[in-house]
């Protein structure tokens, strides 16, 4: 577990360094893309963000349901 945590931290740190470097280089193309065609891609990105957060919440809910299912199965097996 500790090993995993270390790996995860390294990954996050590397990612953030990479992102920070990319930000300077790629800031202009990134913005140009979203400003093109009358800024329609801003709308696309916002619909994507909306459904991404909703899906993340649904995954969280599903994990809770899985947990309850496992507990109930465990209970019925032992009794």
């Amino acid at each position: 577990m500790r090993y995993l945590n270390q790996k995860f931290t390294t990954l996050i740190l590397t990612l953030s360094v990479v992102l920070l470097t990319i930000q300077d280089v790629a800031a202009a193309p990134f913005e140009d893309f979203f400003r093109s065609t009358g800024k329609i891609y801003v709308v696309v990105a916002i619909i994507a963000i909306t459904f991404l957060v909703i899906v993340l919440y649904l995954i969280r809910l599903e994990r809770k349901i899985n947990k309850l299912e496992k507990l109930q199965q465990h209970e019925s097996q032992t009794s």
């Binding site: 913005e31 979203f34 400003r35 065609t37 009358g38 800024k39 329609i40 801003v42 709308v43 990105a45 916002i46 619909i47 963000i49 909306t50 957060v53 909703i54 919440y57 649904l58 809910l61 809770k64 349901i65 309850l68 507990l71 109930q72 209970e75």
Partner: protein
């Protein structure tokens, strides 16, 4: 009601309708770029104009005006069509402005016979060294803006800077509206709990509030992304933004509060009372304070709220279904959470017996 499915299908259908109609409806033509933005009175002035959604050809019948207030207008002297969306327009600016001030700000109006007319507010700053109001007023009243062509097709209005991202209204704004409706229903159940002390209503109230917080987070993320391309930065020092961040933090504390109290009855009572106070704090934070300060949001700091130009009838036909659709989606998600929590509670009770 919670187990019936017609309203869930209705919500899904409304959101599909909003995505399709909200994205496919074309925009009215508009002015995209106007350069240069200042000139002197008494000079011949040529502007390069880039338009959006126009289809000019050599035979297009174009007219252009500069407009000061509602009473003064100046017709262009020549219009050269360069491309389908590019114009070179020359105005002979009169020697004097129809005003005593050094600078007047003129709006631009362009009309094409087959397309909807377009307006660029505050397009040009005209400076003058000395003033002759009577002469200026006379020179500026020679032409009238009349016979503007209107396109009655189903189209959304074009706004400068916002452009196509105007369509975010159907997602960003309706998510906030849905959040408020979910919170209000949550408050009703919180009061119901406080009156009856039935833990079932606590589960209803807390689930609705949880989903409302998720919608608040979506509203904040989408708003931040939109701000980057409408206002230039992901986060600007705008009272509406800061106050809604404060309100969201108050609600995140609600989340923490519920996790940290283990006794069921205490948790239910404290969180019901807390949610009442949180909602009472939310209303002035989001609806009252930003209106008293300068804010970039429509309806705040003197900006008109949903003016005729920002939200016309075509946008209403998508905006109101969007609010209902996202509210129903939120209710659907919270109904799943409610059912899960009810099962969890009954399982816990069974196990403790």
């Amino acid at each position: 009601m919670i187990r019936q499915s017609w309203w869930k299908y209705l919500g899904a259908l409304l959101i599909i309708y909003v995505i399709i109609v909200g994205l496919l409806t074309p925009m009215k033509p508009g002015v995209y770029e106007f350069t240069p933005i200042n000139t002197k009175a008494g000079k011949s002035f040529t502007a390069d104009i880039i338009t959006y959604n126009t289809h000019y050809k050599d035979s297009s019948q174009l007219r252009a005006w500069l407009k000061i207030d509602t009473s003064y207008a100046l017709l262009s002297s020549t219009i050269e069509i360069q491309e389908v969306n590019k114009l070179k327009v020359t105005f002979d600016i009169p020697n004097y402005n129809p005003s005593t001030s050094d600078v007047v700000i003129a709006d631009l109006v362009i009309d094409e016979k087959d397309e909807h007319f377009m307006v660029l507010p505050q397009a040009l700053y005209i400076t003058q060294d000395s003033s002759q109001v009577d002469e200026g007023a006379l020179a500026w009243s020679l032409s009238n803006i009349e016979n503007l062509s209107e396109n009655t097709d189903f189209t959304f209005p074009f706004r400068w800077i916002t452009e196509e991202s105007m369509r975010n209204l159907f997602f960003h704004v309706s998510i906030w509206f849905a959040m408020f409706i979910l919170l209000i229903i949550g408050i009703i159940y919180a009061i119901k709990y406080l009156l009856s002390k039935d833990l079932k209503w606590d589960i209803y109230s807390s689930s609705l509030t949880h989903v409302a917080i998720v919608f608040g987070i979506i509203g904040m993320l989408t708003g931040s992304f939109w701000a980057k391309f409408a206002w230039g930065q992901f986060w600007i020092n705008d009272p509406k933004l800061n106050m809604s961040a404060v309100a969201l933090l108050i609600y995140l504390a609600y989340w923490v509060l519920r996790v940290s109290i283990t006794d069921q009855d205490v948790r239910a009572r404290v969180s019901a009372a807390y949610s009442l106070f949180a909602f009472a704090a939310l209303i002035p934070l989001v609806f009252v304070l930003p209106r008293m300060m300068d804010s970039m949001h429509p309806g705040n700091g003197g900006n008109p709220a949903f003016g005729k130009d920002d939200l016309d009838n075509t946008m209403r036909m998508v905006f109101y279904p969007a609010i209902i659709g996202f509210t129903l989606l939120g209710l659907w998600i919270s109904s799943l959470y409610i059912r899960f929590q009810l099962l969890w509670e009954s399982y816990m009770i069974k196990r403790s017996n």
